[in-house]
Amino acid sequence: MSRLDPSRASPSGDAPFRDVATAHAPFRSGRLILWAVILLVAANFAWIVAHNENFGWPVVIAYFFDPTVISGLYVSLGLTVVAMALGTILGLVLAIARMSNDRLANSLAALFIWFFRGTPLLVQLIFWYNLSTLFPRLSIAIPFGPVLASWDTNSVITPMTAAIVGLALNEAAYMAEIIRGGLLSVDRGQTETAEAFGMTRARALWRIIIPQAMRSIVPPTGNQLISMIKATSLVSVIAMADLLYSVQSIYNRTFEIIPMLLVAVIWYLLITSILNIGQSYIEAYYGRSERRSKADGKPALTATAVQEASH
């Protein structure tokens, strides 16, 4: 009973109560053993893979910087950058249209998102590539009126343009929803404040809403970018010489299927690793106002500016 006496909880009390500042973490031997076992298993697995001749590591090394592979890598990276950039810009436009009160803009954006999210990317790519069978000629014309300009579809739709259009439009549908979610996550009071200060809608969006929405837009966009890198491998079906297509073209000749696929896998992993690092920097940038550091960013500058102002 006496152990429950609250008066004993004072620092000057008996031995059972001591200042937590003197505490230390106990040594956990079970945890150490678990670590050792896992590391041992992992090292063993790595050793087995490295010494398994079926993986053909010498072939992997020999072809890793092969010109065909490297040019395929450039195609994959280029497609990713261009399709992602176009997809993000179009996605932003769609997100804004989707959120507007304008019935027409709203329904057109909804229709676009519904279609491009609802059909497989592979099928979309094949359709774009074979557009000439549906529309032999592409024209700019006044509806039901005269034709202003016209091109042969096959001269416009190359594997490259089909790949860019296919990937970008599909990406736009997903980015639209990601960006819309980000814009919705910003406190309604921010829009209202921007309005009360007489900002135009475009300026409020650009200066106030989007920078705050970025915190919730960046992580899923990083996800999309990584998906996009891998999605570019689909363009091999329309004879676009991307990374996967390049290694395929080599193993069709040498029959070194697994080693060549390993070359592609390692390249994909390398790229996504670099993107992950980039993403964490971008997230840190948009989260800078969240840090609760007491040290002000530029105390010296502020002090001189105050002096200047008081002159």
């Binding site: 009071g189 106002s289 002000d296 105050v306």
Partner: protein, 259 residues
């Protein structure tokens, strides 16, 4: 007296009605506010006082009547003898001479205090960054936050954030300042610093409309107290009269809770 009579009211409000769906929140408001006047609007929750304030800069559109600020009808214009709705940009232009302070401060969290204050002067009013910065630092000095220019809003207390919000609204050199319950979201010990700042502004001749529950502030700083209840103005006059000697039973009932 004659000088006052020849002056035009800065704010003219005539028979303003406002409904949200079926609910009529404002049931005919008439009010004239002279330049330099400090008007405090009191009233129980749900009396429509915040809604009325938000109608003045068209954050809420009214259903009937008219509101004019500085001789311009807010939200509409006369064209070929017919009244037409202004475009979003037209309304934005009208709002640029009206400053507003919100209950939840609404500072831009991704910008430093200084960036918050110069955003509108530089981006909307076309001031040079240098002039705007100099002015912003003077305003920060006035609200007693000179050393916080480089801080982010999150690093400030509620009272400090609200004082920055006041400085931000003053930076556009407004003809009219609207305060929407500026102390209601603050801890009791932080209310005083914000009210002191507002009292300062009132003395300097700024035209202010303040929606608040702070009876003490109304008594000391207001030129006129407006008491609203159920979407109508039920009593209005000098603070000593309305607060000290209320006539209407609703005003009496409301004020008795603060005694």
């Amino acid at each position: 007296m004659s000088a006052v009579q020849t002056m035009n009211p800065l704010v003219q409000v005539r028979d303003v009605h406002k409904s949200f769906d079926q609910l009529e929140v404002l049931k005919g408001i008439d009010l004239d506010i002279m330049p330099g006047e400090v008007v405090v609007i009191l009233g129980p929750s749900g009396s429509g006082k915040s809604t009325f304030l938000r109608c003045i800069n068209h954050l809420e559109a009214i259903n009937k009547g008219f509101i004019a600020v500085d001789g311009e009808q807010i939200g509409y214009r006369l064209r070929n003898g017919r009244l037409e709705k202004l475009s979003a940009n037209g309304i934005a232009r009208q709002r640029r001479k009206i400053g507003m302070v919100f209950q939840q401060f609404n500072l831009y969290p991704h910008m430093t205090v200084l960036q918050n204050i110069i955003e509108a002067p530089v981006g909307i009013h076309g001031e040079s960054r240098q002039d705007a910065t100099r002015n912003a630092l003077q305003l920060l000095e006035r609200v007693g936050l000179s050393e916080k220019a480089g801080s982010y809003p999150r690093q400030l207390s509620g009272g400090q954030q609200q004082r920055v919000a006041i400085a931000r609204a003053l930076a556009i050199k407004p003809k009219l300042m609207l305060f929407d319950e500026p102390t209601s979201a603050l801890d009791p010990e932080l209310v005083g610093e914000v009210l002191a700042t507002m009292r300062d502004l009132a003395k300097q001749g700024l035209t202010m409309i303040v929606v608040t529950h702070e009876i003490g502030f109304a008594r000391e700083a207001a030129d006129r107290v407006v008491f609203m209840d159920d979407g109508k103005i039920v009593e209005m006059g000098r603070p000593d009269d309305v607060i000290g000697n209320p006539q209407h039973p609703r005003t009496k009932a409301f004020l008795s809770r603060f005694l």
